[in-house]
Symmetry: C2
């Protein structure tokens, strides 16, 4: 076996934890991803640091909680100077390369303040969240200014799939009966075949780009973040995936009438969102979920292509492979659509780690129920490449002990945060933008959700795994709520920004006392001598 030296970190966008057959989906078979799980560890309880792309990803890419990195919602730039996984790996001579999506917004004001040229290498790393972009594609190119520069449009044009907006007209549209295009943005069209030929659609395209990178990589070790933009909406997919599943294949919605009648203002406000009302309709679920499943199936097929390539090129021997997602999708569960809140449909993700090293042989094909957070990946990768731990910066835990079956103390709680200051619902609820904060703390059984200015929510996942019964006001659970409230405080008051001194430096400061020549609290020369300080002040002797 070759020396392990690379990391291929695959991320799907908006993939629910339970839409893979290895996680128990009964009708959606994902044999390629399942096979990876058979060769690695499947983590059963993994939570993202925020159930929304931007902040979740910034946590993945920095190894830090949202409250620490501060990019609390989509469109909040990651502040200049925030250390990234790429920074840590480059110190070790490892390239940290992006193929696909990050949802990163550069802190252009901060860069300008510090004189960082966007076109310089440091400027690109700063603007791309620490990655060297082999291909950046956030997967949204609607008309307008959203993302004009993605190479995928050029690629489509090269295939003869042209027009003013190839992404929109080919990958995101179907043909209508009357020759006009049917928009993939409209969910009634979800089951139509996307116009783009399957081999040129986004998921195969990014697979090929990932392979292109690996082919082009030289002898230096690398981490490649192959970051797919699906099964995120627009929900539309080319044949054969567009009608591979039907309404008979979908799971019934996980929801209750009691939920519909919740008195919790924030939960109520979410239920009133357009997308949540839409997904509460059977018509929408039955049209969209089969297509969501088709997108996942396509992704699994592409994993087959990718893994076959890695096998063929002996990369399975030297490459750690991680498969995960950035958050889930409610798909109508709990009367909700999209993501944002903290039910498992939204905040829990799949995570499979294949470690090629022989030390991991003992855990192959096993399932871990440890509480994992998205921030654990960055320290895992640092560990894999032989870097010293950086607990003063990286707030996650290296998964290596869990992968190698060695003893370790693990965390007692998983945390996730959500800032709804930029949401219409915040205006409806008349909440000050500084207070539009939700925090989840989950101890493996009890999920407690702090809602600033409102009562908390509480779910007992042991007696109520579907999270249908809100115990946020039940008197008999006062003690549980108080315990989790206090645990949340213990977490909130930790250091989150003390990143400029290592633990080793702090220990040396504590052991070393004052710098040479600084004498505090000494009365006379005798005390100096008694303290064993020799001639610190030469004029003493």
């Amino acid at each position: 076996m070759k020396t392990a030296r690379n990391v291929l970190w695959i991320m799907a966008d908006q993939l629910r934890w339970d839409y893979l057959s290895c996680y128990g989906h009964p009708t959606l078979q994902t044999p390629n991803i399942d096979r990876l799980a058979e060769r690695g560890v499947r983590f059963e309880r993994t939570y993202v640091q925020s159930p929304i792309c931007g902040p979740s990803r910034m946590s993945f890419y920095t190894g830090r909680y949202v409250r620490s990195h501060g990019a609390t919602w989509n469109g909040f730039p990651l502040r200049v100077g925030e250390p990234t996984l790429g920074d840590h790996l480059r110190e070790l001579g490892v390239d940290c390369v992006l193929v696909g999506k990050t949802h990163m917004i550069p802190d252009t004001e901060g860069m300008k303040r510090l004189g960082i040229e966007p076109e310089s290498i440091i400027g690109v790393h700063t603007a791309e969240c620490g990655f060297t972009p082999f291909e950046r594609d956030d997967g949204m190119h609607p008309d307008g200014d959203y993302d004009k520069t993605a190479p995928y449009d050029d690629y489509l044009r090269e295939q003869g799939l042209g027009g003013a907006n190839p992404w929109e007209e080919w990958a995101n549209s179907a043909d209508g009966d009357d020759g006009k295009l049917l928009s993939g943005w409209l969910m009634e069209n979800a089951n139509r075949p996307a116009r783009v030929p399957e081999e040129h659609s986004e998921t195969p395209y990014l697979t090929q780009r990932g392979i292109d990178f690996i082919e082009s990589a030289g002898d230096r070790p690398w981490l490649c973040h192959l970051s797919y933009i699906k099964p995120h909406w627009p929900y539309i997919v080319p044949p054969p995936y567009h009608n591979m599943y039907g309404p008979g294949d979908i799971l019934p919605p996980v929801r209750s009438n009691a939920e519909r009648e919740t008195d919790h203002p924030v939960y109520r406000a979410w239920q009133n969102h357009r997308v949540c009302q839409a997904f509460s309709r059977d018509e929408v679920r039955e049209r969209v979920i089969p297509v969501y499943m088709g997108l996942v199936k396509q992704l699994d097929d592409q994993m087959g292509v990718l893994f076959e390539y890695l096998e063929r090129t002996d990369r399975m021997d030297d490459t750690m492979i991680v498969f995960t997602s950035d958050h889930g999708d409610y798909l109508g569960d709990h009367w909700l659509g999209e993501k944002d809140l903290f039910h498992d449909a939204s905040a829990r993700i799949p995570l499979i780690v294949y470690d090629p090293r022989s030390e991991a042989d003992a855990t192959r094909g096993t399932v871990s129920d440890a509480l994992i957070e998205g921030i654990d990946l960055a320290p895992t990768f640092l560990d894999f490449f032989g870097g010293d731990p950086k607990p003063h910066i990286l707030e996650g835990l290296s998964l290596e002990p869990l992968l190698h079956g060695t003893p370790t103390d693990w965390r007692d709680y998983a945390i996730s945060e959500y800032d709804y200051a930029t949401r219409q619902s915040r205006l409806e609820l008349d909440v000050d933008q500084a207070d539009a904060r939700l925090i989840m703390i989950f101890d493996g059984r009890w999920k407690y959700i702090h809602a600033e200015g409102f009562r908390p929510l509480l779910f007992d996942l042991e007696s109520d795994p579907d999270e249908l019964v809100d115990l946020g006001v039940e008197p008999e659970h006062e003690e549980v709520r108080a315990r989790l409230h206090e645990a949340l405080f213990a977490w909130a008051r930790r250091h989150h920004t003390r990143i400029t001194r290592t633990p080793q430096q702090v220990d040396r400061m504590a052991e070393g006392g004052e710098p040479p020549g600084i004498l505090i609290g000494f009365w006379d020369e005798d005390e100096i001598r008694e303290a064993g300080i020799k001639s610190v002040y030469p004029k003493v002797d």
Copy 2:
């Protein structure tokens, strides 16, 4: 009256709140500072964000809590990219100039990571905590590497006061009987006359350097941070100040036997520090405190020189003058020396603000008992220079409403933090370095101190203004403790790092909904039209 356009921000180092006659000291007369108070507002209850130089100053210079800027103790670099007062003022075309001490440590690793050249203008601002240094002098030049470059040593040499270390040999030594030098580091020598002629000692020197800056300043508005290094130790001063006060002039120690017998491990550990044991001896107090008073008296005399200069040059008409300190000095109170903990002797500071504008006429000579924090100065200065508020970055409150007597909502609590990870006492207490945290919350009556891993301390300053009775375990105060504990949590869970979007931008995001072209939750064209969205997807019409 000329237009107000400059700020002179004077800071003393380690000056207790109550060692000025305007704050009630009975034997130490400070008529010049008192006169400033008569022309401005004297703030009676001002607290620093940490009772130690480095973190306290980083809070002053960033307008942010210690938990936000992360430079939690002396020697922790302020992270690169942390926005400073200087950054905010430069945006307005205002120079932000340093004369004296900051205790800033540059984040050289972060600067290197971002390619910031230390010699560039941006590099100097980054390394100097946002200031343009006219003169940087942290006031400690012992033998060794501590601070080799301070111009004060060259100045002394120019005055014929030479030697290997002029600061040490002249400003910090006295002549012994046998021709050998007596060290100012040794407190038995405190009452000896420092060898340096008074006019060349540090306080007059920095006054002159402040005047030099003002003389040299052009037409652009400026903020000058004139940051004295006294009455901070070494406790030694030239004549006539060295024997201006005697043991009969000092206040009795504020301490009780019950304090000496405290069961609180952190408080006990502090009492065991060398400097605390020293200041618990009458001999030390009687030798040192008169000299501390002499240093304050010298500072007040220099304020006379400075204010006379400002009067003479008509600067009093256009310059806001702020006088404050970075923390106090226990001087034996509570069986403690130095600072570090949260009794008023340590965490409370004097603060006087003279605002030349006519809007402030109504408050001249008044006393405010509002709870002020050190972080309030940065937003006050931003306000003074006409900048828009930046509440997403600056966590303090502009004092302008208090200075102008206009109505305002004020804070309910003052907060101060202390990280003892780098202290010997942390090793003695066997506390993990991540947990060596203390936080004070004070509501104007009750001072509650959270000590991670230990019981809290509580003082009732109404019935016990000297803070001698620790109510941290008294059952009858459980409710007060619970209330302040919860208030501390409310503060801790606030945003502290979400600095890259302004409130205006956040509002626009909430009001504007999704970016153009992004359609979430729409079923068909009818819903698009009903929502009043016109031709967002051109292929619809």
